[in-house]
Amino acid sequence: MDKFLLDIFGSELIKDLIIPVPLFAFVIVFALYAVLAERKVSAFMQNRPGPNRAGGRTGILQPIVDAIKLLQKEMVLPERADKWLYWMAPFVVFTGTLLGFAIIPFSSIYVGVDLNIGLFYFFAITSISVVGMLIGGWSSNNKYSLYGSMRSVAQIVSYEIPTALAALNIVMLAGTLSMQKFCELQAGGIQNWFIFGGPGGLSKVILIPFLVIAALILFISTLAEANRTPFDLVEADSEIVAGVHLEYAGMQMVMFLFAEYAQMFAVSGIVVTLFLGGWQSPFGNAIPVLNTPWMQFAWFIGKGLFFVFVQIWLRWTLPRLRVDQLMQLCWKYLIPIALVCVFAVGLYLVL
């Protein structure tokens, strides 16, 4: 990919500027249609039609209509807000999320940058959006916003630990941190995916229960990091109105929303890459047509969208946790269980 673009444009600078463009386009289109998906899925679950005016019964043009409406809205500055920080916060949040996409491996021929410490980079870079949320909550000069941002910090900082521990299982098995390597190692069909023990002999069967649990922990804790229900205490609308988003309107609100939906796909991408084979086809090379680089895009995005659907599904099924329940779940259940998984996988690797 790198070499190909370098051949076309003949300049390092232009090549480096071109590579993020598909990522950015994907994030924008995905975020627009994820909002529609959320509304449609919730409508289906509550037995009502949902958006059905723009673009026929499916509401397929609704995101475009929404975008035009939001673009026209006035950007409101609260009277006692801190002007500079208030303008800056949505962009910091969105940038932090978008930076995470740099290492998401969409296919064997396309990844933003194949860092050899990709996974570590992802965990580090998500903390930037936390800073954005803190700044946004503080500068709005509203106690509900402030509570929202304080909750977001407590939540995201604590849930980083089970996320990292669950991912550590796979890092130990694979012996790498590069996202492309994770995908390459899981070649050869569904039985070689890391959730089923990864490539290896028959003895890997004893690992399967631990890895399934680790995958569940990773999914739960990344759900909390993306601030989705049942962990959406940051914007709990029945308790603190809308948390950090409260004072924002128009395009700035859109930035927050885009960041949230983009984060949903990013964390799904991490779960898919680590446990479900990334861009590998579940049939391996038995059906070569299904494992070409372009089909790999479809596999990866399909698996990612499935997890996004599960996240939406959970949002409209589960009630929200209380703050103390949230902390209890993290520190008393997820972290010890994840530690047991790490010990089991470590023991297996030593023996």
């Binding site: 050899n116 580090a124 930037i128």
Partner: protein, 165 residues
């Protein structure tokens, strides 16, 4: 001129500029945000030096840990308890002397050292080497650091817990 050189100068300027703003501004929240920008552009400088592991660790530790704690502390003290904190300058003359002295020493060192310059190697995997060194040659410092962290954890948990009286 290579465009990474241009990037270096841009981010070096941002680092110094935000650091100067950090110490001169009166608003403590602005100081924290300037610190964020400064720490982040230092991470960019590490990347330009091809030390990607250190760069990510810089973001993880300083931006993800220390800076968020700082912001959290400022928010708790200022908006919740209605105490207005301003960061006034104290001990201006000694600190200026100290800063000028350190700058002079650094410039002298920079000009007198013989630098070993070599072409950068592409895609060096440094994580494996760092991991091996931590568990072989530098095991004792590594373990001592982890014990210090554990003690700090237990201590903070003890202070945070309500006393029984």
């Amino acid at each position: 001129m290579n465009y990474s050189t241009v990037l270096f100068y841009i981010f070096a300027l941002i680092t110094i500029g935000s650091a100067v703003y950090l110490v001169t501004t009166k608003n403590i929240m602005y100081s924290a945000v300037a610190l964020f920008i400064s720490l982040f552009s230092i991470a960019v400088l590490y990347i330009l030096l091809r030390a990607d592991f250190i760069a990510i660790t810089q973001i993880m530790v300083y931006v993800g840990g220390i800076l968020i704690l700082l912001l959290f502390g400022i928010m708790l003290t200022r908006k919740v308890t209605e105490v207005d904190i301003t960061s006034n300058a104290l001990n201006v003359i000694p600190s200026v002397i100290f800063a000028v002295g350190i700058t002079a020493i650094l410039i002298v060192i920079m000009l007198t050292t013989k630098w070993n310059i070599r072409a950068p190697l592409n895609n060096e995997v440094t994580v494996n080497q760092i991991g091996k060194m931590m568990l072989t040659g530098y095991l004792l410092p590594f373990e001592i650091a982890s014990i210090v962290l554990l003690v700090a954890l237990i201590g903070s948990a003890m202070y945070a817990r309500k006393s029984k009286q």
